[in-house]
Amino acid sequence: MNYEKRTFSGGTHIQDFKEFTNSLETQEAKAPAKVYIPMSMHIGAPSKPLVAVGDLVKMGQKIGESQGFVSVPAHASVSGKVIGFKQLPVPNGRMADCVVIENDFKDEWLEGLIQPEQNPQALDAKEIGARVLEAGIVGMGGATFPSHVKYAPSKEGKKADHIILNGIECEPFLTADHRIMLERPERIIAGLKYMMKLADCPKGVIAIEENKMDAFELMIRLTEQDSTIETIVCKEKYPQGSEKQLINAVTGREVPPGGLPMDVNVIVNNVGTAAAVADAVEFRRPLIDRIVTLNGNGIVRPMNYRVRIGTLYKDLIEENGEVIGDIVKVISGGPMMGFAVYTMEIPVMKGTSGILVFNEESQVLKREEEGPCVRCARCVDACPMGLEPTTIVKAAKRRDWAKTKACDVTSCIECGSCAYVCPSMIPLVHYIRLAKQYVTSKDGNGAVNPFLV
């Protein structure tokens, strides 16, 4: 069948490296002997620990209470005993307070959880919203924005007329969303239905990139009968999965600079989030695990794993097998927008979509010396936000921050398309980040050590 392929302007084609894992069934990772549950796995205020050392906890038990509106609770991902608190590094470059739980390997759920709701269709929006918050659900594509906040009535009385489920997964290597669409499509659709009810929104869209035709065809088949849900295919182009670009491709609307999707009456959520919502509403199942793609040339058996939140990268990689060669880089998330981390003692969090482990032979990491700009304008063509990266970067190198501001540097979504296409290997995004720091910092002096403030 031929479908119209939607897309946005700008962007670039990148090699996707998905063939390693996209046809392999997701495996259940062993629950580790100890889990480290960070109290801030989401954007917003960290949760407040509810347990003390020595407490016995059950699986799914709330161990961190949300603090304020933009915050979510955290839950125990294993049953066992709380043995302490520890500060661990997390990918965003900070330290997070973690509750350490020693696993008793009984996997006992807290009573009252995991019981199917008799008549989930009868639940009203208020109850659905409460269950989403209670389950600690955040955006699982990586942004980790608390989901209940997206669905809270907006101050200006805006209402969504589209809920877009993001099944694009345009980052290379990652196939977690692809696998969940193939393995749990009914859960995704059910979750979308609850989200539509929650937002009182008449239309749901599932958007899938053309390199996942199997998932697309499956979804089309399952949603054919439902006139409120549309499944569409998008061109394979980076960064198709970025919120603003996806909204543009699906609805033709343009999110204003500095604005949110709600400004154009759209809510975007990841497909994994939808499945988690369905579990939360129908089973009161808190978010205690997620699918993580483990890949990179340092990994023996590239694979998608269903991993308990709080599992250390180290434990997961160990379960996979001996690493190959000297590991020189570990990336949390995808290679384009993920974070390089310096240790494997980092816990899997709600937003961890992938762990990529590379040794020194990796072609992906090869990067030559930065050369002078040859004014080819490839970066300008590639920028999905319509910026002129080369102009911004030239100003940033002169430390002319006013000029970078005039060039609208704050609109940059840091997708890395410009740096990817630059024939002179200029790390454009680094300079742009520097410029953003200066433009957005209150005193105009750039970033300050996060440990000091």
Partner: protein
């Protein structure tokens, strides 16, 4: 031919007349003192005064009542000249100030946390665990200070820490403001005792980080006869800090500090500025005649 010349001549005459009238009618009154003040300012456009360049300050002094000693690098010499132009009394002389670094985390004293690969700027590295050094609070050593110094007075040395050239530093404070670790401080040049650490951890944790870390033991605080040294508490923890108004450079804390985090520096000659140093003239006659700092 003749016709063309006549037409051009007439047009030239008309435009000339229009311009002559316009320049009279539309003339903007400028206070001649603005130009005079501008002529005595160093012309470095360093921005340390907080105004957009020397011209901005000149205008502000004459028209907005900005202080006559606002030019940091110009110091009292320039302030006096401005005072003469403005018909005011010059501010009392003050001691010259220079930048001091509160870290001694050299390659030998601390270790790397990770290898930083990216654009060499402390601001970019600091967002990842406070920089590639094992100490979250110490100097990152990628030289943002060196890049922003308008007087070429601070340079990353061999052991990765910046070294201030006290003969060239004018104490403008630009590096101190921009350092993402906030470990540069502008200090009177006659002060000799400095805490060379910014680590906020206490006890063992600080000890493991670096060989010369302040561990917040407070021995210096107890021993200072002037009460000049305190433990500065912040959300991150605490570190010893000297109040330079009280410090007499007696050096007792230096001897008592079990971690050798406080240093007693040799005195710096405040008169020795880069201009007094013998210097071979460089470039063509016009450039060579100008001094390096633009002040003398």
């Amino acid at each position: 031919m003749i016709q063309a010349i006549v037409i051009l001549a007439v047009m030239g005459g008309i435009f000339g007349a229009v311009l002559a009238v316009a320049s009279k009618k539309l003339a903007v009154e400028t206070d001649p003192r603005v130009d005079e003040v501008l002529s005595v300012l160093p012309g470095a456009n360093c921005g340390a005064c907080g105004f957009p360049g020397c011209a901005g300050l000149a205008n502000a002094i004459v028209n907005e009542g900005a202080p006559i000693n606002a030019c940091v690098p110009g110091k009292e010499k320039v302030a006096k000249e401005i005072a003469a132009i403005m018909g005011l009394n010059a501010a009392p002389e003050t001691v010259r100030k220079v930048a001091q670094l509160h870290c001694n985390g050299t390659f030998d004293n601390t270790k790397p946390l990770y290898e930083y690969k990216g654009v060499m700027d402390c601001h970019l590295a600091v967002t990842q665990f406070g920089g590639p050094s094992y100490c979250y609070y110490g100097c990152i050593g990628l030289g943002s200070c060196e890049q922003v110094c308008p007087f070429d007075a601070i340079h990353i040395g061999e052991n990765r820490l910046p070294v201030v050239d006290t003969s060239a530093c004018v104490g403008c404070g630009i590096c101190a403001n921009q350092c993402p670790q906030k470990i540069l401080q502008i200090v009177p040049i006659n002060k000799q005792v400095h805490v060379r650490c910014n680590n906020r951890d206490k006890g063992k944790k600080a000890m493991d980080t670096c060989k010369v870390s302040c561990i917040s033991c407070g021995i210096c605080v107890k021993n200072c006869p002037e009460g000049a040294i305190t433990l500065l508490e912040s959300k991150a923890g605490s570190v010893a800090v000297i109040d330079y108004d009280k410090c007499t450079s007696c050096g007792i804390c230096v001897a008592k500090c079990p971690r050798k985090s406080i240093h007693l520096d040799p005195p710096i000659d405040p008169e020795l500025t880069i201009c007094e140093q013998p210097k071979e003239p460089e470039g063509c006659a016009a450039c060579a005649a100008k001094s390096v700092c633009g002040l003398h």
